[in-house]
Symmetry: C2
Subunit: 459 residues, 2 copies
Amino acid sequence: MLDARILQQLTEIVGSENIAATPQDLICYGYDATQMEFLPDCVVHPDGSEEVSRILKLANQEGFPVFPRGAGSGFTGGALPKGGGVVLVTTRMNRILRIDTDNLVAEVEPGVVTETFQMAVEKLGLFYPPDPASLKFSTLGGNVAECAGGPRAVKYGVTKDFVMGLEVVLPTGEVIRTGGETVKGVVGYDLTKLICGSEGTLGVITKIIFKLLPYPDAKKTMLTVFDSIDGAARAVSTIIKNKIIPTTLEFMDHATLTCVERRFNLGLPDSGRAVLLIEVDGDRELIEKQAGQIHKLIEPLGLVQFRVAKDAAESEELWRVRRLVSPSLRDVNPDKFNEDIVVPRSKVPDVIRRIEVIQKRYDIPIVNFGHAGDGNIHVNIMIDKRVPGELEKAHEAIKEVFQAALDLGGTMSGEHGVGLAKQPYIPMELSADQVAAMKAIKAALDPKNILNPGKMLPV
Amino acid sequence: MLDARILQQLTEIVGSENIAATPQDLICYGYDATQMEFLPDCVVHPDGSEEVSRILKLANQEGFPVFPRGAGSGFTGGALPKGGGVVLVTTRMNRILRIDTDNLVAEVEPGVVTETFQMAVEKLGLFYPPDPASLKFSTLGGNVAECAGGPRAVKYGVTKDFVMGLEVVLPTGEVIRTGGETVKGVVGYDLTKLICGSEGTLGVITKIIFKLLPYPDAKKTMLTVFDSIDGAARAVSTIIKNKIIPTTLEFMDHATLTCVERRFNLGLPDSGRAVLLIEVDGDRELIEKQAGQIHKLIEPLGLVQFRVAKDAAESEELWRVRRLVSPSLRDVNPDKFNEDIVVPRSKVPDVIRRIEVIQKRYDIPIVNFGHAGDGNIHVNIMIDKRVPGELEKAHEAIKEVFQAALDLGGTMSGEHGVGLAKQPYIPMELSADQVAAMKAIKAALDPKNILNPGKMLPV
């Protein structure tokens, strides 16, 4: 519990309309997209780096923890105030400060919603590629803090690849600028990338400078169905080896197809064991040619259906298959653990086979889909928590799924982060010396462990 | 001076054939591409992370500094043993460990020469884009440590953008892996990017995992001459705004043209005030189309010459103009300071104008060329050191050039790094709080300040 004196000081910093401590307010900021919940002692909505700095300086002086939060759409509990403290919400800082069409650069505040930003730059003919599934509500600050990905990462990369510079309030309250507005820059350590993906443990992001691209001329969507997972996986590497880097290469396994088909009856062929949703973008003539090349290249790999969208409406129709995945899953079981392992592209069939074995061993439905182009598979472990023992089985199964990814040269998380959810598994992936180096950096920047304590690294 | 006991222990670690301490050996490892020279006490050539680890542990125990070094082609003294100590040369670790054509990933040791690696992957139809001018002799470890750039960075990015993972020996001797073999990965802090560009101050790189691309189908080179710098600069932004991202957009100013023309008589038009060497790569038909589009787009901008290469031989001929720049400069004056400032693309004409003013004020020839596509200009301050007062004037002029870049939203260095050469100017670019955060990280990872001490950050 924070004492009244501290609450008074916080009120002075943000103004009485921007601080909340009623039970209903606290409940609103105590959960995220995980199924965990921890109540904070108070919620503040500062505007600007100066207010954030004053909050952090007060926190260091008084010794209370601070948990930065965007839209709270995270999948790993990175914004949850475990142990209590102050939740610092960035959503009031929601201005797009400028879009520089000459230099293809934009500067924004952290509370801007991802899609809002995308639409603003698209109006000017520009393109911000990162497209996490949460883009309609997630904030850019949260995207940067978690290093969000999305389907288009195959061709364009993840959030980090578009962050050129930041304004950050360090855990001890100093406001610094990192990086800058130029693509190149090698003066000093790369604090920008260190903050990206640090999940709010090393600083509070108060401004972001993004790199933009020209908006692609055109795109072409293809829905392809294969009679085996190996066929689909070979299709991915064959396409890329032939110098075509699609914008997206979304994968759905047989369990996923069965779910979608059972509920929505989309007419996918019975012999289909895996789907690849392929999209290419760029020059209009080039992508026409590429669509033809792709068809020819993948035809011998057990292709049982190939549909190309003729226009935007048909493209939407093909994407429907992918979009219906999440709503279909609830038919399998009410509760879901959505893990986002990554393996080298060529190891996708191996990891899927290992997951099939795990599924049988624990007798839990596991549904796999995701971004095959970069080996990032969303593994959905479907349980019913009301059934005694299911939750424990799920945790055991998750651990084995992670081990499978690691054995195949992969990682436990491609875009969701560690937060609280994956923290116990960290020693499976990172060595003690790696963790010690990370802890040394955290302690160097946050000696009193004020900012988002007890997250990411094992405690 | 290292005492005999330490030399004996170092000999035990690397073997007597891999340690040297004669005056002629020390001279060989006491210089780089700057004009500075500092003699080490001894030079070791370890092979593998275990030997590097033992050297660093010994250094921590005995308190001597260690300076990692690749080919010694750096422009800022990053590998120079100022104050004496042990130079740790990575060139024995020169194996390409594997090239994975399925996942477009390669693992190499740090001592592999950049061009050797490029040729090895190109044989397999793959592409490693970073192309620093030193690629015929620089090592990949050095490229990563400095975050080397090159002309192709406009389209493809810099070295850092291709580093997926590292094996690093920390300053205290622990061997860690950072990153991995997957494009996505968000478990723990991004130590990979922190090490990239840290100039050998945070760890010794002993293995590198690189991302590769398919080798582009074809390329097209164009030499374009403009009657003003503004025309050339507007050409750059016009091309990019029209959704064409060239592989290279190399710029040469009037002073550069005059140098090259005077010596090599290439037939550049008299009215030419700036040259852009433009290259596009990718699909053969697409780049033909793009070359046509580029011509049309830049024609109204004061274009006085437009030459397109029909084949590889003609392309080489056009590149000759750019390649002859360095040999021509010596005609201006014998000594050169090559600074590599960056400004936002649209600010290139402004910075060139400011440099003209500086040039007049100090009465020193300044020749500008470089990578206009990313605003990275190589500013060559040409002096004759034998003339009393010239060196001092050059240092004053450099400071003003840096200030001009910073005033225009840029940075002092895009690819050469800080090292010893730019260290005194750091407070012009980084705030005291930024520097303090970097120093805290350095101290956290290298508490005894063993590794490359007194570099990068102001002391």
